[in-house]
Amino acid sequence: MAAQKQKPGDLGDLSLPDKYRAPIGLAGFSKAKAVDWLKSLVLIRAAEEKIGEEFGKAVIKCPCHLVIGQEAPAVGLADHIMKGDRVFGAHRSHAHYLALGGNLHQLMAEVLGKETGCSKGMGGSMHLYQPEVGFHGSVPIVGSTIPIAVGAALSIQMDKTKNVAVSFLGDGATEEGVFHESLNFAANFCLPVIFIVENNLFSSHLHIDLRQPYDSTCRFAEANGIPWQRVDGNDVAAVSRACQSATRQARLGTGPQFIEMVTYRWRGHVGHREDLDVGVKRKDDLNLWKKRDPIARLAKGMEKKKWLQPGEFERWEKKAEKEVFKAWNQAEKDPYPQSEALLGRVYFQGNRR
């Protein structure tokens, strides 16, 4: 969709749960690509279902912000991440980590606080780190990784490489002052950073209609002269196309890019419950949004193309569940960090120079 035909402050029908239910259009994409997406989406959902289940049993204690229902933005971006790119997440980042190829067992170990976790058991669900795949950190202080991603982009600009930095944030983070400071800074210095707003209409319990005068965050990009796109965040093909053009532009050195991906989370702000009792419209909308499921819509799109044989989708689901089960079982058996880790990691023990 061409940006100029959309209004920067208005989501239009993208916010309506009974729209955008059609099978995903796959024109221009290969079967192999679609298969990759589906496998990745299904794995993320299976991992999140497992984490939700164990959270519900209080086996996992650390706060987990589940991504079920909004897996597609992470998967669509991952297609376009090259070696040396730097992606940053926030509190709801399991999908960002997994989509980039983050190790599943290390995620499970991390949410259990085990030494084998991606952050050595020191961070938990909200502090994921796997630089080998381009994921350079996530934190739950809302908005904090936005300027950090901009700083990574400044470093890339100084090194004169073709890399980009990516900042994943939610619609709530656009209410933080540092978001506006960061957009201004990135635009002023023409930095290779892509801001991706996963607008799931909620910040914690509060609907965007109760928090902002307009429901689209693209108006902030417009105000800073940053090119923006807005897509259905539950359409992995649309997400991928938007990320392709944004990363391509940013690698050319033309400055920051901004993409708003409209989506919805099926679980509450934190934990395994659906939070039907909080906020406006939640109870009415959740069941409708479940019909806008990014996974079912992709599967239908693939069926239309005859890229999916009967029973194949179910086989992949089973395979993902098995993989998750194996990773979880291993993580449960893994050791906790030694007591020395408490004081031994306050200051850096290595030598970067």
């Binding site: 976790g117 780190y129 300027p147 400044l154 800074f185 002023n188």
Partner: protein
């Protein structure tokens, strides 16, 4: 034979920056007013002309984002120095300093380092009032993971700046504009390992231990001189690195003198002077003490603007002399 040339504290800072920019390509500086002739005194004059505006970056009015940018660059291979020309304005950046820079190494399992230096300048006096006069070193020294450095001499201004920037941990480097005219004959530049740096004894004595840092340290040295004329030998300890605090030299000194006066240009409650006294009380055996330890700090009030109130607010050398004399029991 010509006299060895002296260098002022402000110039020594500039020398430190020039050394870093010349010898370490991953170093850059960023902050409000770096292209201005007056924001940071004479401590960075013309660095932008010498090393380029890409490495001496003047910024939009956005303390929080600019500090976050420095943190982001630090974890991406650079060694940035983010400069806050007044520590008061660094309050806007506290999330990035306290929640991010100080935490990432620990919470990501020691796998990432954040070699960012946050330079904050104390710029007080001159009737500037409550929001242009704060010190706040005690606040920052409270945070595990954040090294806090306060040089009191021109030599340290240059050398501890270099050591801070080359350190792999986040460092809060706080300098006081009241020190900028201090002069030293500087040794040739050496790259020190900040992890090995700690308190130094600036003057030896056997009657009382004065513990201080930054501008207050210079006041303590003047006080020690005046005390010496009264026959009182004060030992003066310069903390230099406030966090993590090396307590050994303080305890060792008090075992000799039996008396402690902690002097700090920050507030009293939960302040650096309180930490020094608490550490000493825990570390020095009860029988050693000849007198209860004492502290001189700012009164627990925001800085006033009005001249007479301001004069009452900042302690003077004579206040240190008087308190130390009382503690030792008058003239010897």
């Amino acid at each position: 034979m010509s006299l060895p040339q002296k260098t002022s504290y402000g110039q020594a800072l500039r020398d430190g920056f020039a050394y870093l920019l010349k010898n370490h390509p991953e170093v850059f500086t960023i902050g409000q007013g770096l292209w201005s002739p007056w924001y940071v005194g004479n401590s960075m004059t013309d660095l932008d002309r010498e090393f380029g505006k890409e490495r001496v970056i003047d910024t939009p009015v956005a303390e929080l984002a600019c500090t976050g940018v420095a943190v982001g660059a630090a974890i991406s291979g650079k060694r940035p120095v983010i400069i806050h020309p007044r520590v008061d304005f660094a309050m806007l950046a506290v999330d990035q300093i306290v929640n991010q820079a100080a935490k990432w190494c620990h919470m990501l399992g020691g796998q990432v380092c954040v070699p960012v230096t946050i330079r904050a300048i104390i710029n007080r006096g001159g009737e500037q009032g409550a929001q242009h006069s704060q010190s706040l070193q005690s606040w920052f020294a409270h945070i595990p993971g954040l090294r806090v450095v306060m040089p009191a001499t021109a030599q340290d201004a240059r050398d501890l700046l270099i050591a801070s920037v080359l350190c792999d941990d986040p460092v809060m480097f706080i300098d006081d504009r009241w020190l900028y005219e201090q002069e030293d004959v500087l040794d040739p530049v050496r790259e020190f390992d900040l992890r090995q740096e700690g308190p130094e004894i600036r003057r030896s004595g056997k009657d009382i231990t004065l513990v201080s840092c930054s501008y207050s340290l210079q006041q303590c040295l003047q006080a020690a001189h005046a005390l010496g004329e009264r026959g009182i030998e004060a030992e003066v300890i310069d903390l230099r690195v406030l966090n993590p605090l090396e307590r050994g030299p303080i305890i060792h000194s008090i075992r000799k003198t039996g008396r402690l006066l902690a002097v700090d240009g920050d507030w009293a409650t939960c302040g650096m002077a309180a930490e020094v006294i608490a550490s000493a009380v825990e570390g020095v055996e009860p029988g050693i003490w000849k007198k209860a330890p004492s502290r001189i700090t700012l009164p627990d009030a925001p800085a006033p603007t009005s001249k007479p109130l301001e004069q009452a607010y900042y302690f003077q050398v004579k206040d240190i002399v008087q308190r130390a004399t009382e503690m030792v029991g008058g003239k010897k």
